[in-house]
């Protein structure tokens, strides 16, 4: 992991915490917890060998999806990556259809054609997700261009990782979005690894947020495990985009607890240093938000327990729905290659 000495611009945690209402904090916590439990449920059921889709879990990174999507309307767009479960949940997708998708069922959000890496929920502004690193960034900009051309005030969020910063599409997209002042939020979840390659092996400077300056747009770096910091930074960027002020880049520094793909941790395999991993475990976004809520008396232990029970039940129902749903008919292989309702 790259040590960050020079900070670009950071959100003052104190001011952020104070300006966020107890109701919003509770909502943020609920989303974070829901994402965590969803991913943990996958870990629980994955050894059953019947969820035949490569899962890229976002445990440890939940605060980002929660802190960003809380500012979005149903008609705002998000474009996500192979690691998209958290974003879909935070945007309001039906977890039953997500689980059904992972189980390859007809009732899945992509009718069993996409799997974990290609979630979609057009009614909630998720037109699809792509597993090609950097591939979704220009598409998000295109959705922003459509808003601009139609004269609507919907915004478009491109979620991507630090690996996508190395792709040409990132730079091409930043350039064009800034040129046309499009309502786009470039949201980099910097977990310091592209698969197993550390950021320091790929980038000469640890300056992701600063790169925004080169394209004439605001860039900000925040602690991605501090949901209040993410909330504040995202609010500013979304408000600016919606008001016609153009795009922003937000770098959220975080860490994935599990390996690049699959339910296991890769530390045992030597992919990442143990002490680094352990240090980040202490920055758990669920625990931090939970503490914050208790400190601010925004939620009681009893309420938290009830919330957890409710969420656990949702997870059981989602898995049950997925497992009990029918598989697609083999003949559906040939459906949906071409759209046929043109005019």
């Amino acid at each position: 992991m790259v040590k960050n000495k020079k900070k670009t611009k950071t959100v003052s945690k104190k001011s952020a915490v104070n300006s966020i209402s107890a109701g919003v904090l509770r909502k943020l916590y609920e989303t974070i917890l829901r994402i965590r439990r969803f991913e943990e449920k996958i870990i629980e059921v994955y050894p059953g060998q019947d969820m035949k889709t490569p899962v890229h879990l976002c445990i440890g990174e939940e605060a980002i999806a929660a802190g960003v999507c809380i500012h979005l309307r149903k008609d705002d767009y998000i474009f996500s990556t192979h690691r998209s479960h958290g974003h879909s949940i935070a945007k309001g997708s039906d977890m039953k259809r997500m689980m059904a998708e992972f189980y390859g069922r007809k009732t899945g959000c992509s009718k069993g054609k996409g799997g974990s890496m290609h979630l979609c929920d057009p009614e909630n502004g998720i037109l699809g997700s792509t597993a090609i690193v950097g591939g979704g960034i220009p598409i998000a900009v295109g959705a922003g261009l459509a808003s601009f051309m139609k004269g609507t005030d919907t915004v478009s969020v491109a979620f991507f990782g630090d690996g996508a910063m190395d792709e040409g599409t990132f730079h091409e997209s930043m350039n064009f979005a800034s040129l046309k002042k499009l309502p786009v939020i470039f949201l980099c979840e910097n977990n310091f690894y592209a698969t197993n390659s550390p950021q320091s092996a790929r980038q000469p400077h640890d300056n992701i947020a600063k790169r925004a300056g080169g394209y004439g747009m605001p860039g900000i770096q925040v602690d991605g495990n501090d949901v209040t910091a993410v909330y504040e930074a995202a609010k500013e960027a979304v408000d600016r985009a919606r008001a016609g002020g153009g795009p922003s880049l937000i770098e959220c520094r975080t860490y994935r607890w599990k390996g690049h793909v699959g339910p296991d941790c890769d530390v045992e395999k030597g992919c990442r240093p143990r002490d680094e991993h352990d240090m980040w475990l202490k920055k758990c976004p669920v625990e931090r938000t939970r503490k914050l809520l208790l400190d601010k008396k925004a939620m009681s232990e009893e309420e938290m327990k009830r919330l957890l029970d409710k969420i656990n039940k949702e997870m059981d129902e989602a898995v049950e729905f997925g497992r009990s749903s029918p598989f697609p008919d083999a003949s559906e292989l040939f459906d949906d290659v071409y759209f046929s309702g043109g005019k």
């Binding site: 767009y77 474009f79 899945g108 959000c109 992509s110 009718k111 069993g112 054609k113 996409g114 290609h118 979609c120 057009p122 037109l127 699809g128 792509t130 090609i132 591939g135 979704g136 960034i137 220009p138 598409i139 998000a140 900009v141 295109g142 959705a143 922003g144 261009l145 459509a146 808003s147 051309m149 139609k150 478009s156 040409g168 599409t169 730079h171 091409e172 997209s173 350039n175 064009f176 040129l179 459906d335 949906d336 290659v337 071409y338 759209f339 046929s340 309702g341 043109g342 005019k343």
Partner: protein
Amino acid sequence: MPWTKVYVDKSEFEKAAQLQKEGLRGLTFREALKEATSQMMEKDERVFVMGEGVDDPGGIFGSTAGLHKKFGKNRVMDLPIAENGMTGVAIGAAMAGMRPIFVHMRMDFLPMCMDQIVNHAAKWYYMTGGRTNVPLVVRSIIGKGWGSAAQHSQALQALFMHIPGLKVVMPSTPYDVKGLMVSSIQDGNPVMFIEHRWLYEQIGYVPEEIYTVPIGKGIVRRQGKDVTVVAVSNMVYEAMKAVQPLEAEGIDVEVIDPRTIKPLDEDIIIESIKKTGRLVIVDIGWKTCGVSAEIAAVVAEKAFKYLKAPVKRVTLPDVPTPNSPVLEDAYYFDYKRIVSSVKEMFREI
């Protein structure tokens, strides 16, 4: 029918126009393409044109010239030279309700967009279980001659023909370029719209109103009974020029213009072979894994029993395009090669 007719040169069209007097409005391929774009932009505010140089004085060899004055620079949008990223932008805009036409002055620039075209545009509808479609038209122009050389003259249609989820259109006449452009904009799928630069001056009958030519339907340009010549894009004209010299040899040629290579109108080719028993395929691209290879394979699978002779392919040799005029002459071919290939076929039997 004036709309199925290929006018090999201007004088031939003028003669036809004189005979008809009224009702035979002639437009060049370039004008027909621009008219289709302009009329569709008037009719449907979701339609817009994007591409590097679309609003410059040349206007993509005249095919978009002046449109920015009529529709403004937001709907005729000049772009940074960032082909892959801008393809992604077009895809995103298409998904979110727009109807972009992305124009590339040279087809050689498309390999830079392969990630967005192949991994994204082509697959999106399938990956989302049919929930998000991508109504995108990607225009590209094949160059030829004057030393255009290896990176300004490629005919890469076969690359796209390979990819499920894409449609690939290669119009040859002014009538078809307008009708197929309208169909492509309305289709709702990613359509690769491929034009040969040498078609731009071709003249033909083009109605003023908006009309469509169906994607996936070929056309018989000339009926004949001895040999089927399937010719793509501007090779349709070369095939038509080969008709007379072959007729003089007693060979009656049927010329088929597939107009769309994906989906390919297999039926029209197979029906013709049932009659002629002989097939010559003429493409503007390379031989290996090219359009001609696919058509030959389809015929081998589905119409082998009707063949009286091995299939012949007239294509570019498998080398990059050279610069020197002497090498260019050795690289490209015209109707004379088609004539000699057909004659060879009859001699061999």
